[in-house]
Structure formats: structure tokens, C-alpha cells
């Protein structure tokens, strides 16, 4: 088991290296010079050269890459071009805000999804199955940025139930700020609910169709005992999917955060794109991808812990 974990960890290193290279290349293939955004068009060549040197844009590309990589590995991502504040501080605050949403949305979405999937599988072919499957399919097909707008429409425009924007002022007591979470969390939970629901149904049905289940029933095991065996066999792939979905919640909440003006990492990324704030952009993408790789690693190890057959 330890050997398996160590091997997976080693395999993740070249991937992370590749990720940093892709992000760096992407940023430098991009048209538009970040310096042009900072300076007035009539800036003298001397000023341009000074600003370039200050941000390290005057060095050859591979030197820039190595410098950036070295700094990133030591946790220093430079300063924002837009507001000259350290990138890491802004990024960590934003990431914390995203994490709040992601954890709550994952809890809600996975819980509902597992419930829907198991209910559908248990009543395979009946109206309950069709209803649960329909709900899950709607969850998968909803553009969540639209779902966000529709939710706002119902709860904030047609009725004045919930706040539609932001996190609430810091001066408010925490229980008053909870209501700001409701709409973003519900919106974000829709896709995980649908994806997990559909997958749990399919996986459970597949496991229940296998011969060992009939064998267990034939030897007289109770229904509860059979369910335990089925769940244990269906768990690893479902776990893997939930890991991926959690990663998508962390890295893909940009649309929903934009609709709700939620100051998370997606919102920060969106601002950085429009401001051409390269240091923030690079750091956000790399950190989110890094988290995604780590998450997948943890899921792989957890899967192997449950199912010894996967420890190859």
C-alpha cells in the first residue's frame, strides 16, 4: 500500500512539471503585452525598459520560466500588475472563499446524488427510477450560470427572500452572512448531484448484475448483508468520480462566482483575464491545477485502500 502511494506520488511529479510548462507557454503565446496595459501609449522607451526590468520581462523566455518556477516552488508568485499587492495573499483569500462554496456544494450535491442514484437502482425500471433519473439528467444538462440567474429571479426578484450578490459585509454577524451562501451553494451542487446520481445508478446496477450477488443471495445472506457487499464494490469508482467533481467545483466555479459576485478564485481569475494581470493569472491556474492533481492522487490512494485489486 505504501509502495503504491509512493509510486503514484512519483508519477504526479512529471505531470505537475508539464502543467507548469503548459501554463507558462500559454501565457507567453497569448497576444497583447501586459506592459502595454500598464503604461500610457506615449510612454518613453526608457520607462518601458524600466518597467520591463522591474517585472523581469526583459530576460529570455527560458530564464523567465526557470525564475518563475523557482519562485513558485518557494511559494512566491510575485506581485499583481494591477494593484502591486503580493499575489499569494490575494489568491489564498480567494481560494478560501471558493473552498467554502465547494465543500458545501459537494456535500449537498454528493448526498443528493448518492440518494437519487441508489433510489433509482433499487427501484430499477419503476416510475421512481424514471423520476430520479430525470432529475439527475436535468442536473447534468443545466447550464449552471443560467440556473444561477433563474434562482436569483425567483428568490430575489419575484420574492424578496435571499440576497443575490456577494458575501455580505464583514461587519455582519456570521449567521447573517450564511444566507449569502444559499444560492451559490444550491447552484453549484446541481451538476455534482446529476453526475453522481447517474453514475451511482449505473454502477450499482452493474454490480448488482454480477454473479457474486446471486451467489450471496443463494447462500441465504440477508438483504442488508448483500447491500453491504454491493456498496463496497460500487464505492471505488464512485469515489473517483466524486474526487473529479470536487476538483471541478474548485476550478470551474468561475461562471457561478461571476454571476453571484462571489470573491473566490474563479472571480479573481476572471478579473485577471480582463486586466491582463499575468502574475495572478499564472498563479491561479497553476495552483488550481496543482490542487486538482493532488486531489486525484488522494482519490487514487483512497480507492486502492478500499479495493486491494487496484494496488498494481
Amino acid at each position: 500500500m505504501l509502495e503504491f502511494a509512493a509510486r503514484r506520488l512519483l508519477l504526479a511529479i512529471p505531470v505537475l512539471f508539464g502543467v507548469s510548462l503548459v501554463v507558462f507557454a500559454l501565457v507567453h503565446i497569448a497576444p497583447g503585452n501586459p506592459i502595454d496595459m500598464l503604461l500610457p501609449p506615449e510612454a518613453s522607451p526608457r520607462v518601458i525598459a524600466e518597467v520591463k526590468a522591474a517585472f523581469g520581462f526583459d530576460k529570455p523566455l527560458y530564464v523567465q520560466y526557470l525564475l518563475w518556477l523557482r519562485n513558485a516552488l518557494t511559494g512566491s508568485f510575485g506581485v499583481s500588475i494591477f494593484n502591486a499587492q503580493p499575489v499569494l495573499g490575494q489568491l489564498l483569500v480567494a481560494l478560501g472563499n471558493t473552498l467554502i462554496l465547494a465543500i458545501l456544494a459537494a456535500t449537498l450535491g454528493f448526498g443528493l446524488g448518492i440518494g437519487l442514484g441508489l433510489l433509482a437502482a433499487a427501484h430499477h425500471g419503476s416510475w421512481r427510477d424514471k423520476l430520479c433519473s430525470a432529475v439527475a439528467t436535468i442536473g447534468v444538462s443545466l447550464p449552471n450560470y443560467w440556473a444561477a440567474i433563474v434562482l436569483v429571479m425567483f428568490t430575489s426578484v419575484l420574492h424578496n427572500w435571499l440576497p443575490a450578490q456577494g458575501m455580505g459585509a464583514h461587519s455582519l454577524p456570521w449567521w447573517d452572512r450564511l444566507q449569502y451562501l444559499v444560492l451559490p451553494v444550491i447552484t453549484l451542487s446541481l451538476i455534482p448531484m446529476g453526475v453522481v446520481g447517474r453514475f451511482v445508478r449505473a454502477t450499482t446496477l452493474e454490480v448488482m448484475g454480477q454473479e457474486f450477488v446471486s451467489a450471496l443471495a443463494a447462500k441465504g445472506l440477508t438483504r442488508r448483508g448483500i447491500i453491504r457487499h454491493v456498496c463496497k464494490n460500487a464505492a471505488p469508482p464512485v469515489l473517483a468520480l466524486m474526487g473529479l467533481q470536487f476538483g471541478y467545483l474548485l476550478g470551474g466555479s468561475i461562471l457561478v462566482e461571476t454571476v453571484f459576485n462571489w470573491p473566490g478564485s474563479g472571480y479573481l481569475l476572471n478579473l485577471a483575464i480582463f486586466r491582463r494581470d499575468i502574475p495572478i493569472l499564472q498563479a491561479t491556474i497553476v495552483l488550481l491545477a496543482f490542487l486538482f492533481v493532488i486531489l486525484n492522487l488522494l482519490v487514487d490512494i483512497a480507492q486502492a485502500a478500499i479495493d486491494p485489486r487496484l494496488r498494481r
Partner: protein
């Protein structure tokens, strides 16, 4: 008892045996199962409807998608002359939704098509060649897998600048790795099958094996998967435009329209929800279509 020996003499087989011997291919069975599936049929009809109103937008609408009047801004659904109301610039919603379907469908379907060729090709190569080629290609795909798909699409599109072309490019890059991986898995499984072994043993070249045996057998699972990706792609493509990264105003596109009408939810909430409803409907149709194809083709996928 005596009859038994009599019947052993060769004679015409009974009629029902002949009926079952009519060659009925795999694809014919798929078509028969699809024809009996009301959900998939219904969904195909809706999808055909959406494609038709988009393709024949000039025929089914009377106005111009850019023509608007400030005097008729944000009129409700059911207004005479504008049965779906008007947008924030007084342009007819029905006209813009029809024309919008052209760009939205294109931006959703094209990336999956491109990725199907590129990713399918790479997966075929990796799965068939195996060994070092497989390792290099699939590890390369792993790097792109390390990005959450929405993040990668937004990063590429955000950095390259907005525009339909960049949005299609960004989404194509996003969909190449999953299609390469699924094709690689299917092909690698096929490669171990006896009939492939037999074809190779009897002297078929790699090209012949791929062309006559691999493609036709790998096509089903890969197509089912690609159809479900179109559903994601439609949502993401409109999402990019919604963020201001894909198609830009005033061109009619569902994501652009949804974003432009965001402020209007306080005035005409139902009109403002229409473009998103179209995205939802189209995405849902592709999802259900993929489900229908999957069960008709009896494909088992864990992707």
C-alpha cells in the same frame, strides 16, 4: 419414433427457421432498438426542430437579428409582432434566438468534431501501437487532464482573446484528452481480441486492420461518448460567450444574449430567461440522445 429417422433426411427447413436466418447486422439491431425508444425519438425530433429553426432562420423569422427600436425595449412575451418579446435593445427575441442557434450549435458541436478526429486519431495510434508511443502520448494527455476542463477552456480563451475561433480552439483542446483516452481504451481492448489476431496472422497490414476491423468496432462507444460531450460543449461554449470570452455582442448567440439580458431580470424575468432555456434544452437533448444510443448500442463505458 419412426418419424425421427424420416425427418433426418434433408428437407426444406421450417419457415420460422428461415426467418431468423435473415442476416440482421449489428447496426440494423441498433436502428430497431432506437425506433422502439420513445424518449430518444422525441428528443431527436426536438433537436431536429432546433437545428431547423437555426438553419432556416431567415425563413421562420421576419425581421433582422440586429434590427431593434429603443421605443420597444424589453417587451413581454406575447406582445403582438414580437411573440417572445424584445431584448434590451428592442430587438425581436424570436429572431435572435433562431439566429443565435446557428452560432451556439456551431460553437458547441465543432469542438467535439475536431477533438473526435484529433483525439480519436491519437487514441487509435496509442492503443494500436502500444509500447513507447502509447506511453508518450498518454502521459502527454495526462498533463491536460490535470486541468479542470472549465478552467482550461477559460484560460486558453481568456489568454488568446475573445472570438468564435478561439472559443472553438479552446474547447477542442479541452476535449482531445478525454476522446483520446476513451479511444485508446477501446482500441487496446480490441487489439487483444482473437479476430484482430487472426487478421494480423493472415497478413493484413496495420492500415488494413485499423481500417476494416478497428474503426467499425471502436466507433460505437466513441460516438456515444462524443454525443454526451456535445452536451457539455454546448454549455461551455455558451458559458465562454456569457463571460465575454467567446462570441462578442451584438452577434446573436445564446450565451451573449443571456449575459446582455442579465440586468433585465428585474424588468422582464421571463424574457431574460429564454436564451438560457435554449442552452438547457439543447444540452438536455444531446444528453438523452447519448443515453438512448448507449442503450441501443449496448455500450458499457466508465468514462
Amino acid at each position: 419414433m419412426l418419424d425421427a429417422s424420416a425427418s433426418s433426411t434433408p428437407s426444406a427447413p421450417p419457415a420460422d427457421v428461415i426467418a431468423t436466418r435473415v442476416p440482421s447486422g449489428y447496426w440494423r439491431g441498433v436502428a430497431r432498438r432506437l425506433a422502439r425508444d420513445p424518449v430518444t425519438l422525441g428528443v431527436s425530433l426536438v433537436l431536429a426542430g432546433i437545428v431547423t429553426i437555426s438553419a432556416f432562420a431567415p425563413v421562420v423569422t421576419s425581421g433582422h437579428p440586429y434590427a431593434g427600436s429603443v421605443l420597444h425595449r424589453l417587451e413581454p412575451i406575447g406582445t403582438p409582432g414580437h411573440w417572445l418579446g424584445t431584448d434590451e435593445n428592442g430587438r425581436d427575441m424570436w429572431t435572435r434566438l433562431c439566429y443565435g442557434g446557428r452560432l451556439s450549435l456551431f460553437a458547441g458541436v465543432a469542438p467535439v468534431m475536431i477533438a473526435l478526429f484529433v483525439g480519436g486519431g491519437l487514441g487509435l495510434l496509442a492503443g494500436y501501437a502500444g509500447g513507447i508511443v502509447n506511453t508518450i502520448l498518454m502521459r502527454l494527455m495526462d498533463v491536460f487532464y490535470a486541468f479542470p476542463s472549465v478552467l482550461l477552456a477559460i484560460a486558453i480563451c481568456g489568454l488568446l482573446g475573445n472570438g468564435l475561433g478561439n472559443a472553438v480552439l479552446a474547447l477542442s483542446v479541452v476535449f482531445v484528452p478525454p476522446l483520446a483516452r476513451i479511444t485508446e481504451t477501446v482500441v487496446a481492448q480490441l487489439r487483444r481480441r482473437d479476430f484482430i489476431e487472426a487478421a494480423r496472422a493472415s497478413g493484413s497490414t496495420a492500415f488494413q486492420v485499423i481500417r476494416h476491423h478497428m474503426l467499425i468496432n471502436a466507433l460505437g462507444p466513441v460516438l456515444v461518448y462524443a454525443t454526451s460531450l456535445i452536451s457539455v460543449s454546448i454549455i461551455l461554449a455558451a458559458g465562454l460567450s456569457f463571460l465575454g470570452l467567446g462570441v462578442t455582442p451584438p452577434r446573436p448567440e445564446w450565451g451573449v444574449m443571456l449575459n446582455a439580458l442579465r440586468e433585465a431580470i428585474y424588468v422582464q424575468p421571463y424574457v431574460a430567461a429564454l436564451p438560457g432555456l435554449m442552452i438547457f434544452l439543447t444540452s438536455m437533448c444531446f444528453n438523452l440522445m447519448s443515453d438512448g444510443l448507449r442503450s441501443a448500442m449496448d455500450v458499457r463505458l466508465n468514462a
